[in-house]
């Protein structure tokens, strides 16, 4: 195949061009079969994707609406749907306090990551100083640290400092792991804001801080939303550190609470209630995805294919 020839010089010769166009027309009209096969295949693929992505979650909701003997049958629709599992989940004090803990830990971490992260990102995007590449590489490599690597020392240090089983004990390591991504996303967003706007503000006598707060921040709002969402998703989801650094409902977060659910009888695993709790803690994330799809995709792909 000589595709490159066509790419480099897209038809310098008029006669050649004419011939190519004819060939292309012939290739496209190669029998009527092709005209419907392609769209049908495409729609089949689209339907397959939708089922693949949504069915397991539907199944979880389905299980969460089953109780008693329904839970030993694999019906696709609950034979006698009931919200009993949800009622019992919300009557469970440990679960509701885990919800409160997760909301607090997630929001505090997200706000701190945005403040600290946007300071650092502004410096990286706008100010000139040496060894910037090295600094970014170090920051980014932190995001690839396996949490288990710091679990042991933090576990020991927190026991000594009295931070074990507290909010602060979770927020600090979460901030560390959330910062690299937040800084990376914010830096790339800050860089896209025309420098001239701030320079004009600086010329007009604004300080760096004023230029940052009044010019850059409002323009970087989409970036802040993106970084904030990804941080919040990470914290809400995190399990290893939460499981290692907490030991009581005082600081349990939702993944820990759900993963360690036990029924009224010690050795019975209440799959109905666990499923209901799982649905409850997933709904906010699914809603966020529906509302902020564009922002989230932008953030996820900013880390991967930039420029």
């Amino acid at each position: 195949m000589e595709a490159s020839g066509g790419v480099v010089t897209p038809g310098t010769d008029v006669r050649q061009q004419e011939k190519e166009r004819e060939e292309a027309r012939a290739a496209e009209g190669r029998g009527p079969r092709r005209n419907w096969v392609r769209p049908v295949l495409m729609w089949l693929a689209v339907i397959a994707i939708i089922i693949f992505c949504l069915f397991p979650f539907y199944w979880l909701v389905n299980v969460s609406l089953k109780t008693g003997s329904d839970l030993s049958q694999s019906d696709l629709v609950p034979p006698s749907p009931t919200l009993d599992n949800y009622t019992s989940v919300f009557e469970n004090g440990d679960f509701t306090s885990a919800l409160r803990n997760s909301v607090i830990v997630t929001s505090v971490t997200t706000i701190l990551a945005l403040i600290v992260g946007s300071f650092a990102a502004y410096a990286l995007a706008r100010l000139r100083f040496p060894n910037k590449f090295l600094l970014l590489a170090v920051i980014l490599s932190i995001s690839t640290f396996p949490p288990i690597a710091i679990a042991a020392p933090i576990f020991k240090l927190w026991t000594e400092f009295g931070l074990y089983d507290t909010y602060v004990g979770l927020i600090l390591p979460y901030l560390t792991f959330a910062l690299p991504l937040a800084i990376y996303i914010l830096t790339s967003f800050f860089k896209e804001i025309p420098k001239e706007l701030e320079e004009a503000a600086l010329v007009d006598g604004a300080t760096y801080f004023q230029a940052f707060r009044k010019v850059v921040l409002p323009l970087a709002a989409p970036g802040l939303v993106t970084a904030g969402l990804l941080t919040a998703f990470f914290v809400w989801n995190e399990f290893l550190l939460a499981q290692t650094l907490t030991s009581s409902p005082k600081a349990f977060t939702v993944p820990v609470s759900v993963a360690n659910f036990t029924g009224s009888q010690k050795f019975e695993i209440p799959l109905g209630t666990i499923s209901a709790a799982s649905v409850v803690i997933t709904i906010p994330l699914v809603l966020a995805v529906i509302v902020f799809q564009k922002r989230i995709v932008a953030g996820l792909t900013a880390g991967a294919v930039k420029g």
Partner: protein, 313 residues
């Protein structure tokens, strides 16, 4: 720490240094120091401390008992079947799941790229598995494979395949469920990364190839794959790094039984269940070394991206 880096820079590039305003540099130090303080105190220092702990014999069970043990913990790890089983499981899991994720993710990305209508809706749909917590994904797949309640064993029983298999209770099958749960949650993420890569390939490259009579397969082989390679690489490394650290899935699915114990899981268990801080640290450090080796490749691959961010206009 910031000041030290600044001084080093001045020493080496004295001439270039003049162009940096001193006010600008001071401000940069000020703005970067909170982030760097957190990163140094809660990531760098603990890693160093973990290495130190891994060289000691220290157990919370017997307070006061402490001894410098040299490489004893590492010798113990290398001599234990638990460690090698975890290494095997972790790599097996990573290899299979990342391969499947790439194949399925690429398929999904191509379909999404071809779909002219409803791409926005598809993106939202695809983000749902990504948004589901890993712990919840584990619970979902557990309920799908549970005997009686689960849909999969019921269907397989009817078809006559894998009858009487207790999926989460048998070696091999349990790992298969773990792989499935991971593929479900992360193949869509892979698809989004690859879709972004597909969208930057200009249409006229394809048009030109079509004009030259290239078949669809040739266009895929010779244009799509090579031009998508950077995105594929980054997606592969992202996923490999995550898969090597996997903890949530085996914890919830099986508790690490039936051949599903991963490196992170055995390290965490030694720390919290057995309270063996020294030995647990050694296992953590080994996990860290393995992951960082892959991470090094990652940083090199995205090095160009970092450089463009670090450039001053």
């Amino acid at each position: 720490m910031e000041a030290a880096t600044a001084r080093l820079g001045r020493g080496r590039k004295g001439r270039k240094q003049k162009s940096y305003g001193s006010e600008e540099r001071r401000l940069a130090t000020l703005l970067l120091s909170p982030a760097m303080a957190v990163i140094v105190l809660v990531a760098a220092y603990p890693i160093g401390y973990a290495v130190w702990l891994s060289l000691t014999e220290y157990s919370l069970r017997t307070p006061g008992k402490w001894r410098f043990a040299g490489f004893d913990n590492y010798t113990e790890a290398f001599g234990s079947t638990e460690f090698w089983d975890a290494v095997r499981t972790t790599f097996l899991f990573t290899g299979i799941s990342v391969t499947l994720e790439l194949a399925i993710g690429l398929g999904m990305a191509l379909a999404m790229h071809a779909a002219f209508r409803g791409r926005g809706l598809l993106r939202t749909v695809v983000l749902v598995p990504w948004a589901v917590l890993t712990v919840v994904s584990a619970i979902t797949w557990r309920t799908l494979f549970e005997p009686n309640l689960g849909l999969v064993p019921t269907i397989l029983d009817k078809v006559g395949i894998a009858e009487n298999v207790v999926w989460l209770g048998q070696e091999g099958y349990a790992l298969a469920v773990m792989v499935l749960a991971d593929v479900w949650k992360t193949a869509p993420f892979m698809a989004l990364l690859l879709l972004a890569g597909l969208q930057v390939i200009p249409d006229d490259v394809y048009d030109a190839a079509k004009v030259d009579g290239a078949t669809a397969w040739q266009r895929f082989r010779r244009i799509t794959i090579p031009l998508l390679m950077p995105a594929i690489l980054v997606a592969l490394i992202f996923r490999t790094l995550d898969a090597l650290r996997i903890f949530d899935l085996p914890f919830v699915l099986t508790g690490g039984t039936n051949g599903t114990s991963t490196l992170s899981l055995i390290a965490q268990k030694q720390l919290t269940t057995n309270n063996l801080i020294g030995y647990g640290s050694a296992l953590s450090v080994l996990t860290f070394v393995i992951v960082m080796a892959v991470s090094f490749i990652y940083i090199r691959t995205v090095g160009g991206n970092i450089k463009s961010l670090a450039e001053d206009e």
